[in-house]
């Protein structure tokens, strides 16, 4: 299992285009992914789940990836968030 915490740097928060992009990153993978913020956990493979998280700029989210391709998936998710740091 791989876990990490990320700060949202997207100006508009984790919605709109970044949310759609994250869904794309998280789909078609073998691992299970859990994202959490303030005690709420969601499945980032669903756009509705990401919206439900309501993560604004500056918020911290945690990510947990478990499965046979967890290293690759976690690395992709890390890149997704680090690119948003500009």
């Amino acid at each position: 299992m791989k876990t990490g915490e990320f700060i949202i740097a997207f100006e508009e928060g984790l919605h709109a285009r970044p949310a759609a992009e994250l869904v794309r990153v998280c789909n078609n993978v073998k691992s299970d992914i859990i994202m959490a913020k303030d005690g709420m956990t969601i499945d980032p493979k669903s756009i509705l789940g990401i919206m439900a998280l309501g993560a604004a700029k500056g918020d911290k989210v945690s990510v947990e990836v478990s499965g046979e391709d967890e290293d690759e998936v976690f690395s992709k998710i890390s890149s997704f968030f680090s690119e948003s740091q500009g």
């Binding site: 928060g13 919605h15 759609a20 709420m40 669903s46 509705l48 439900a52 309501g54 604004a56």
Partner: protein
């Protein structure tokens, strides 16, 4: 309240995304929530061109944050199945539309999050589909405790 009975239409005629957005914007304008309807529609459609606001389960949540909005609002419509260019390829039959003023900070994110949390539950989605009138739907939303004022 950001939503009220007059911002709900269960018998929308629109057959395209554009028609439904315009119709709901007109409802918001008639309630004094929007000053410049064309500017608001432009903002919402611009967002739609960047990515579809279809969320799966037959639901779309178009939204616009612009100075054209004078007071935050939430509209709701039941529509005939519309191709909303959803990521999952599915058609949309329920539409929530959000409008917030330019200076509203993260208000639209909060509204989106609140609705999305409810929409993740099957019983909430079927409750929306089963409501027979605007007043029934309004009552259902009030009973559901959306968590937004």
């Amino acid at each position: 309240m950001i939503i009220e009975e007059t911002l709900i239409d269960l018998e929308t005629d629109g057959t395209t995304k554009e028609e439904v957005i315009r119709h709901l914007a007109e409802l918001a304008q008639s309630q004094g929530r929007i000053q410049d309807i064309e500017d608001y529609i432009k903002a919402v459609l611009h967002r739609e061109t960047e990515y579809s606001t279809a969320m799966g389960f037959g639901i779309a949540i178009p939204h616009g944050k612009t100075a054209a909005v004078t007071e935050p609002f939430l509209c709701f419509a039941k529509v005939r199945s519309i191709d909303w260019k959803a990521l999952d390829g599915g058609l949309v039959d329920l539409v929530f539309m959000i409008g917030v003023p330019e200076n509203a900070g993260n208000e639209h994110l909060k509204i989106l999050a609140s609705i999305s949390r409810k929409l993740m539950k099957e019983e909430f989605r079927s409750g929306l589909r089963e409501a027979g009138s605007s007043s029934e739907l309004m009552q259902f939303l009030l009973n559901s405790d959306l968590g937004i004022g």
